[in-house]
């Protein structure tokens, strides 16, 4: 394993956007380990269409921040070769909807290399994917493909919801010897928050209670964490004490934290943008059912995108889980 990112005792605590925090985290990873490489479409001179890699090619050179030809399977497939050679590639898929040309490489090659080689060959690769909707975009630019990857043995899947987590988690993902699909909530790229370099981060695959409450637990991740926190604030005005858990890691899922929360509140609602059927909500409901069947006071509910393709942007607001739908679900959970 590459060295874990360390707290910087005399480091800074500064307010950054989530996008800038990712940029800072990538910069630190490039500084920390000469084997770390970045590759992807438009990530070099342009700094990426979301500017997440802005300035990195200028500072680390074209050999470490690589503008790739326009071919996702090629980007991931060559990253496999670079990883075999001892590099730690961090590749960018430009949008969620454009990871699929690389799906074969990711699910059959990247995910299985360690297993197929009898544990001899690690695949220390990070696949960064901006994901999720709510940005008024055209088709293929608002998808939530996490389930495909979380369903694939051999991959780890994480997602951040705050600048602080973005900064630390990208470094932890790069330090991991396993391939990590790193999902970036693109509609939160401009959200600001404090990034604290001075204290060591919590473990990459640990969930976190981000708001305490006693009535019901909202289980969310990525872009939906903010929405859930807003819903919890509104709920508080109405006398509902809503707990919010940010999963952070979608594979593996930190069931210790999740179950501890639901054991206290006895009610759980999963919130995600991804389609409902066989989404993370289905997995969480099954596990809570297994762990806490006799403790829970109502069934696990889901507030999710519908089982339709992502709609045209003028009507996307009705597709995405929002405060009304979440609070309705809270009411329903509490009334059972």
């Amino acid at each position: 394993m590459s060295a874990q990112p360390q707290a910087v005792p005399n480091g800074t605590k500064q307010t950054l956007t989530l996008g800038k925090a990712l940029n800072a985290g990538l910069r630190r990873a490039l500084e920390a380990d000469p084997k770390v490489l970045l590759a992807g479409e438009d990530i070099g001179r342009l700094g990426g269409v979301f500017r997440i890699t802005e300035g990195l090619q200028k500072d680390f050179g074209e050999d470490r921040v690589i503008d790739s030809p326009l071919a996702e399977s090629g980007i991931v497939g060559t990253a496999v070769g670079l990883a075999l050679r001892g590099y730690r590639p961090v590749v960018e898929m430009q949008f969620d909807g454009f990871v699929f040309p690389a799906f074969d490489q990711i699910t059959t090659q990247v995910a299985k290399m360690h297993f197929r080689s009898g544990g001899r060959i690690p695949m220390p690769m990070v696949i960064r994917i901006p994901y999720g909707g709510g940005i008024g975009s055209i088709e293929h630019h608002s998808e939530s493909p996490e389930t495909y990857f979380a369903h694939t043995p051999g991959l780890k899947v994480v997602t951040c919801s705050t600048p602080h987590d973005a900064y630390w988690m990208i470094q932890q993902a790069i330090a991991s010897d396993d391939p990590v699909v790193f999902l970036e909530p693109k509609r939160r790229y401009h959200e600001r928050g404090e990034v604290d370099e001075t204290t060591a981060p919590i473990a990459l695959h640990q969930a976190q209670v981000v708001r305490h409450g006693s009535d019901v637990t909202l289980l969310a991740y990525g872009p939906m964490v903010k929405t859930c926190l807003e819903a919890a604030a509104v709920g508080a005005d109405e006398g509902r004490f809503i707990e919010v858990v940010d999963l952070r890691s979608l594979s593996p899922i930190d069931m210790v934290t999740v179950s501890a929360s639901v054991r206290r509140t006895k009610r759980a609602i999963v919130v995600h943008e991804a389609h409902r059927t066989l989404g993370l909500g289905a997995e969480l409901a099954a596990r809570l059912h297994e762990d806490l069947f006799y403790v829970m006071e109502s069934p696990v509910l889901r507030v999710t995108g519908y089982d339709t393709p992502y709609p045209p942007s003028r009507i996307e607001e009705d597709y995405l889980p929002n405060l009304d739908r979440i609070l309705d679900a809270v009411d329903e959970s509490m009334s059972r």
């Binding site: 438009d42 690589i66 071919a71 008024g136 059927t277 339709t308 003028r314 009507i315």
Partner: protein
């Protein structure tokens, strides 16, 4: 000094290559080419000019509509009018087109309405136009995927006996568009292989506009793209993509070959993306103004206008009339955009499957009940209800 970027040809492509078919110089001078002749008459030449002017107007309107917040984003075809008008006019009504997301000009000429195209960028639809009456497939945003669909469609034409008949009216071919960036995709290269293997009646029309967002053509290839075709087993021709007469001549040749059963061909239309990749892009981050200026002198519309004026085929009155027509067209485009209906959310459930499922129907009902609950409290938008008591 970098190691990965070490290929000697990187960044050294000629801006003004000599190996391209040209019939009209940037100065508007008619020249001849040993292999390709202009096969149209004066009326067609005037038509091409008219269509390029209207196409540019459409494009300008698209950009302006985006600036005014009417469209989410717009990918301009500015500078590529000759490539698209020339190619579109080389097709017969019975031929089939598979466009990318930038073929507004081709689609206009195929009878796709401005409203149908604008809906995609306004966010009211996803390419829901009549592909059958226009013989023009939907836009494909996933780079390169449509080239395989085009090839399969061409295979279908073959299976249906619509290639190589003695009666030319019974024959048809397919024109598959893609960009220079797309030439790197696996799908695109596989489509070349399938087309060659089955001798399919498909012509690949690559607009090499020199850029794939911020990446120059030298990131995708170290030899001219048209030279790749030979390796796949079919002819490749590079044409001056800003010369509408040459594009028309070369595409007519390639389409006729395909219809007659002589198999696929590849056309590299050498042109330039004068605008941003889309209105969301800032090209000053990655390319020099000097390069754009160089290409401005090769404007596709200017050269044909100069040629037709000089040779007395058109006069100022003709051009003034064209200006008026463009003005009126612009107004129609704006009106069509403003009139685009926003679909009801509940409609999205209906078109997921050919035969819907009980599960999905239940989700639609669940949605409807939820939506109706706002009607009863008098709110007309869930967005508004959603925002209550919360600061963003």
């Amino acid at each position: 000094m970098t190691n990965l970027i070490g290929h000697p040809d990187h960044g050294s492509f000629e801006r003004d290559p000599q190996d391209m078919v040209q019939l009209l110089t940037p100065e508007g001078e008619r020249v001849e080419h040993p292999d390709f002749a202009w096969c149209g008459d004066d009326d067609l030449a005037k038509q091409l000019l008219r269509d390029m002017v209207l196409a540019r107007r459409f494009d300008v309107e698209g950009t302006n509509l985006q600036r005014h917040g009417e469209l989410g984003v717009w990918p301009p075809a500015l500078g590529q009018e000759a490539a698209q008008v020339g190619a579109a006019h080389a097709m017969r009504a019975g031929d089939h087109v598979f466009p990318t997301y930038r073929e507004h000009v081709v689609c206009l000429l195929r009878g796709v309405t401005p409203a149908d195209m604008l809906g995609i960028w306004r966010g009211t639809t996803q390419s829901a136009w009549d592909t059958v009456s226009t013989n023009t497939h939907m836009y494909t945003l996933v780079i390169g995927a449509q080239t395989l669909h085009a090839t399969g469609y061409a295979m279908g034409l073959q299976l249906d006996g619509m290639v190589g008949n003695d009666d030319p009216e019974r024959n048809a071919g397919v024109l598959a568009f893609h960009g220079d960036g797309a030439s790197s995709q696996g799908d695109v290269n596989e489509s070349y292989v399938f087309a060659a293997s089955y001798h399919a009646p498909v012509v690949f029309f690559c607009q090499n506009n020199q850029w794939a967002i911020s990446e120059p053509i030298t990131r995708q290839t170290t030899i001219p793209l048209y030279q790749r075709a030979m390796g796949f087993g079919f002819p490749g021709v590079r044409v001056d993509g800003n010369d509408v007469l040459a594009v028309h001549a070369v595409t007519s040749w390639a389409m006729e070959r395909a219809r007659q059963g002589q198999g696929p061909a590849f056309i590299e239309a050498f042109t330039y993306r004068m605008g941003a990749h889309t209105t969301a892009d800032d090209p000053t981050k990655y390319r020099l103004a000097e390069e754009t200026e160089h290409w401005r002198l090769k404007d596709p519309i200017e050269r044909l206008r100069a040629h037709l004026l000089r040779s007395g085929k058109i006069d100022d009155a003709w051009l003034a009339e064209l200006d008026d027509e463009a003005e009126q067209f612009g107004a129609e485009v704006r009106a069509a955009c403003h009139a685009l209906p926003v679909p009801k959310f509940s409609e999205i459930f209906a078109t997921v499957h050919a035969e819907s499922t009980a599960e999905l129907e239940a989700q639609r009902e669940q949605y409807q009940t939820w939506a109706d609950s706002f009607e009863s409290i008098g709110a007309d938008s869930h967005g508004a209800a959603n925002g209550q008591g919360v600061s963003p």
